[in-house]
């Protein structure tokens, strides 16, 4: 598959690079221009539109995905930089029959209203719980502070992460 972004002035032969990237466990080979951003690769080439493009200025965090387990704003990483790396997006969280506990938590605790920031919130929260299964409220707020939400006032997002943390530790939610 090839991703090329034409500009009116562009010549015929635009240099591309071939990369191999593992997205949600599946390894893909893609041919693309070095200036294509990771978020473009995910949304346009791979059709994974769960990752949202929000501010496009590295502030809002809606486009957060995990690269080798680390939360990363996919609007601020070149897709070619994912060559040989493992990317996880919100599509990789649930199975067709079961939601991830974090997704359940967001549903149970009303952690979303418009839902635009949710995929990024989920990925940052996932990275947090992988490193710290029993975070304090402060730790949750701190870990999510690179992700902006304009609806909820964050209160229910924090509760949703606490709900998921309980469940994932095998405690009664």
């Amino acid at each position: 598959m090839t991703v090329v972004h034409e500009e009116p002035t562009a010549g015929a032969d635009v240099p591309t690079r071939r990369i191999r990237v593992t997205v949600n466990g599946v390894t893909k080979t893609v041919e693309l221009e070095p200036r294509v951003l990771l978020v473009h690769l995910l949304r346009q080439a791979l059709g994974l539109t769960g990752t949202h493009m929000g501010c496009d200025t590295t502030n809002c965090g809606a486009c957060t995905v995990l690269v080798d387990g680390r939360p990363t704003k996919s609007c601020t990483m070149l897709a070619v930089q994912a060559d040989g790396h493992e990317v996880r997006t919100v599509e990789g969280m649930s199975t067709p029959s079961e939601l991830h506990p974090l997704q359940e938590g967001f549903k149970e605790e009303h952690g979303l209203q418009c839902g635009f920031c949710t995929p990024g919130m989920l990925m940052s929260a996932k990275a947090l719980l992988e490193n710290n299964p029993d975070p304090t409220e402060d730790e949750i707020r701190w870990a999510l502070s690179g992700n902006l939400c304009r609806c909820t006032g964050y209160q229910n997002i924090v509760k949703a992460v606490q709900w998921a943390a309980h469940k994932m530790r095998g405690e009664q939610a």
């Binding site: 070095p34 951003l37 200025t57 590295t58 939360p71 704003k73 609007c75 070149l78 502070s145 690179g146």
Partner: protein, 291 residues
């Protein structure tokens, strides 16, 4: 927003990276964490012909204490690695600054060395490293050299790197006495650059200050070293009086501009408050314990 077109290489050795930089000269840029450079490319404030991505160069992720006690921070050590580090006990001003740089997601990719090379007058690490008398090690066509932080920033967004040079590590010298101090930063919201910030790094022999490094963020076009404040402290007992004198002197050294983050007068006031607060923490800390 798409960046303009550029050629891209991700060399697997420092030698290859240097060869590419030598070939492209001024037309090439190093890509480290990309958390300043990628936004600039997208806004088309930067349009290099060649990006040399150093993320595949081995053995640059480290931060470690060297045998001489100095801290070495490799060019690919991320802000988040320092935030979680257990090695910063001897460098308390760094430990307190690490969680205040940008936001947690940006900190997973951005690097300390990249941020010093970016030379943004609002950047946090430059002030911290200036206060600690750190230096930057660079390799280039003329070999390897060590550049003291005090000489590393020539102007806003202008590091003292020569064409073809790559910064490979920051070296922070070991304290001779009990290290103490902290970094304070006023930000309008998480992830914002500093309205004003102050890095206070002192070394204590009992209640006497044996070394004082004070540098300021966001209150001048160059990294601002508050030399008069340092002189008010060095060699003296730390007292309420010496703290007040140092805080006033630091505010005097600041050269802030009024902007959307606040008036010059307000920023000067913030500097005075932060220097005073950081030093009072040292004064109030139990003897022998870093503050």
């Amino acid at each position: 927003m798409y960046p303009p077109r550029f050629a891209y290489e991700a060399p697997r050795s420092l030698d290859q990276a240097q060869a590419l930089l030598a070939e492209y000269g001024d037309e090439a840029k190093v890509l480290a964490g990309g958390q300043s450079l990628v936004p600039l490319l997208k806004l088309r404030f930067a349009a290099p012909a060649m990006l040399v991505d150093i993320n595949n160069v081995p053995d640059l992720e480290y931060h470690r204490t060297a045998s001489d006690g100095s801290l070495r921070v490799g060019a690919l050590c991320r802000h988040a690695d320092l935030e979680r580090s257990t090695l910063l006990a001897q460098f308390p001003v760094m430990a307190s600054a690490a969680p205040l740089v940008a936001d947690p997601v940006v900190r997973h990719r951005g690097t300390l060395v990249g941020s010093v090379c970016h030379a943004d007058p609002q950047g946090d690490w430059s002030a911290v490293l200036l206060a600690l008398d750190a230096s930057i090690v660079a390799v280039g066509p003329e070999g390897r050299r060590t550049i003291p932080m005090a000489e590393f920033v020539l102007g806003p967004f202008t590091p003292a790197l020569r064409p073809g040079e790559i910064a490979i590590e920051a070296v922070i010298p070991p304290p001779q006495h009990q290290p103490a101090g902290s970094y304070f930063k006023l930000e309008r919201r998480v992830g914002d650059f500093a309205t004003a910030g102050a890095a206070v790094a002192v070394e204590m022999d009992g209640s006497r200050v044996t070394r004082a490094g004070i540098a300021l963020t966001g209150v001048g076009t160059l990294g601002t070293r508050a030399t008069a404040a340092e002189e008010a402290l060095t060699g003296h007992e730390l007292t309420d009086g010496s703290i007040a004198e140092a805080a006033d002197a630091a505010a005097e050294s600041a050269n802030p501009q009024s902007d959307h983050r606040g008036s010059a007068q307000f920023k000067r006031h913030v500097v005075r408050t932060f220097v005073s607060r950081a030093l009072h923490r040292v004064l109030d800390a139990p003897a022998g314990k870093a503050a």
